[in-house]
């Protein structure tokens, strides 16, 4: 059995024009799926939670020959609803060899439910996927990204693989419009008891954390919640996004959405500034891929200096205000 029928869990999000566009991770996964399918002359299919009308063209351009769309989820949470729709398509005879999911809030819920429905294992947190003959391998970084563990599936397909954002570069295939097929959500019974009653969009003035060219992150070394303002100010000055280590998210200084690391966002900006962050493995996984890293920390033994291109052994409360003043003066 060759690995030839590859699916990508594909999501859209509102773009600056107002219309929906595929998320950047969706395009990255489609690009990878294309190269995996090419080895066996196979096909790429996108599976969309919700309505696909606005994004189908772009999904086709990046390589999807077919698009399944669930239609409006009617307030159901995507995990339970989309996995049920996927299971129905698989039961109907279109059985994928591999399904790639993004490592995000929605992708993780859908793959978890689907793994139970299909009784198949899931590999999460991967940064690479490869096909060798009939076997599929996925690679995930562990221990703060110092080791790469490659795992293969021993059972039968479909192989469920969750991939971190920014693992692959997105490239257009110049593909045409795909065939769009309805994949409605079946009755969910008791498992469908959760309903979204209101959606809150938090306005951010600057760029998104995982898309910013510059990220300025603060950690426990900032001392107290009020001092995080220095991070916000510097990030704004540099037209970047503020981020945080898990320690201060856990402490409640900033929301979870700020978190950079294994359990938060993976960022790969041109410049990453880590202020008062010691560099726990949990954090390093999320920022090690940055092109340039600047670290400021009192402890010269802090592991963060091991990955820094420029390391300042010093007090963030002295260095940051001066840096902010100097940048203001320019």
């Amino acid at each position: 059995m060759a690995i030839s029928n590859i699916w990508v869990f594909a999501q859209g999000a509102p773009s600056s024009s107002g219309a929906a566009a595929p998320t950047s991770t969706t395009l990255e996964l489609l690009t990878k799926a294309r190269s995996l399918a090419a080895e066996s002359g196979g096909t790429v299919t996108a599976f969309v939670p919700g309505d696909a009308a606005e994004i189908a063209g772009a999904l086709g351009e990046y390589g999807a020959a077919k698009v399944y769309a669930t239609g409006d989820l009617q307030g159901a949470l995507p995990g339970v609803a989309v996995s049920a729709a996927m299971q129905a398509v698989v039961a109907g005879g279109d059985s994928p060899d591999v399904i790639l999911f993004p490592q995000d809030y929605v992708g993780r819920d859908v793959v978890s439910r689907l793994s139970v429905k299909l009784d198949r294992p899931v590999l999460t947190n991967n940064t690479d996927v490869a096909v060798e003959g009939d076997s599929v391998k996925a690679t995930t970084p562990v221990f703060g990204g110092t080791k790469l563990v490659t795992t293969t599936f021993t059972g039968s397909a479909p192989y469920l693989i969750v991939v971190r954002p920014k693992s692959f570069a997105a490239e257009s295939a110049g593909g045409g419009a795909p065939e769009v097929v309805a994949a409605p959500v079946p009755d969910l019974g008791a498992a469908g008891g959760a309903k979204v009653v209101e959606v809150h969009v938090e306005e951010h003035s600057g760029p998104k954390l995982d898309e910013a060219n510059i990220v300025v992150s603060g950690g426990r070394g900032m001392g107290e919640a009020a001092k995080f303002e220095l991070i916000e100010t510097l990030a704004k000055q540099l037209k970047g996004a503020p981020g945080a280590s898990r320690a201060i998210v856990d402490a409640g200084w900033v929301p979870y959405s700020y978190q950079v690391g294994q359990t938060g966002k993976v960022v790969k900006p041109t410049v990453y500034i880590a202020a008062g962050i010691s560099g726990a493995t949990q954090h390093m996984v999320g920022m090690k891929g940055s092109k340039n890293i600047i670290a400021i920390n009192k402890d010269k033994e802090a592991p963060i200096f091991g990955v820094a291109d420029l390391g300042i052994v010093g007090d963030v409360h002295k260095v940051l205000p001066k840096l902010i003043e100097a940048l203001k003066a320019r």
Partner: protein, 258 residues
């Protein structure tokens, strides 16, 4: 209101992790502690039971060698009892097998109104187990909860999303996964620590729960390679003499980002 909390016992994250050279899985045979991520779930459960004015918090955990130190921490915080699944047959279990085991352990505790788990563990961080437990039990679930309350028998959760958060209502019983920082976990009191020593811990095997296959046999996946990641070249490290900020300005300038 009865709440079950999934309490993972993990190797101390402050110590360097290691892989077992024979299986390439995380070494978990030393002393284990309660995963910090699960303290939020325990605290949340205690608060919900408190607000409801009755009921109790129970724990389910799966760990090698009958390890209970982490479970005792959660009992000391105020949980009433625990089911500990400990079985050499469980070595090598993947997330799906783990979810099946924990779901069966939860059932052993009887009908609960709510099952709470952390969004992901601090050691394996697969992050799929809470939602998998819900599916195994046929329950609704709300993941990535930033706040949780129960009003008139309905669960109300603010759920973290990419764009902000969603207000979600959910029927009970249900499964919820909570993000870190959602509540401030209490420190166990001396009285709590003493009381925890005599609280019941029901230690069972996979066979007792009727779950099969488990461990390596049930994993459906195999580690085939462990390699060192390419290291970053060492950079320039300087002591701040009061002027180090200029170094940063120069660095940013050279990259043409300012």
């Amino acid at each position: 209101m009865n709440v079950i909390v999934c309490a993972k016992q993990i190797p101390d994250p402050a110590l360097p992790g290691a892989l077992d050279p024979s299986s390439n899985t995380l070494k978990r045979d030393g002393k284990l502690i309660l995963d910090e991520s699960d303290m939020y779930g325990v605290e949340m459960a205690l608060q919900l039971v408190d607000t409801a004015g009755g009921g109790e918090v129970s724990l389910v955990s799966m760990a090698p060698n009958g390890e209970v130190s982490g479970v005792r921490t959660a009992l000391a915080m105020g949980a009433a009892r625990a089911v500990l699944v400990s079985d050499p047959e469980l070595a090598g279990s993947d997330a799906l097998s783990t979810a099946k085991i924990l779901a069966a352990a939860a059932k052993r505790l009887g009908d609960a109104d709510l099952i709470i788990a952390g969004t992901e563990s601090s050691d394996g961080y697969t992050g799929t187990v809470p939602e998998q437990i819900a599916e195994v039990l046929g329950l609704p679930s709300v993941t990535f909860a930033k706040s949780v309350k129960v009003e008139d028998g309905v669960l109300k959760v603010n759920r973290q999303t990419e764009a902000g958060y969603d207000e979600v209502t959910c029927t009970l019983p249900a499964v919820v996964s909570v993000t870190a920082g959602v509540v401030e976990p209490r420190y166990p009191s001396f009285k709590g620590i003493m009381a925890a020593k005599s609280k019941p811990v029901d230690t069972v095997t996979a066979a007792d729960l009727g779950v099969n296959p488990v461990g390596w046999a049930g994993a459906g996946q195999q580690i085939v390679d462990v390699a060192s990641a390419p290291e970053r070249a060492a950079g320039e490290i300087i002591e701040d003499d009061g002027e180090a900020f200029n170094k940063i300005v120069d660095f940013l300038d050279k990259l043409k980002v300012i």
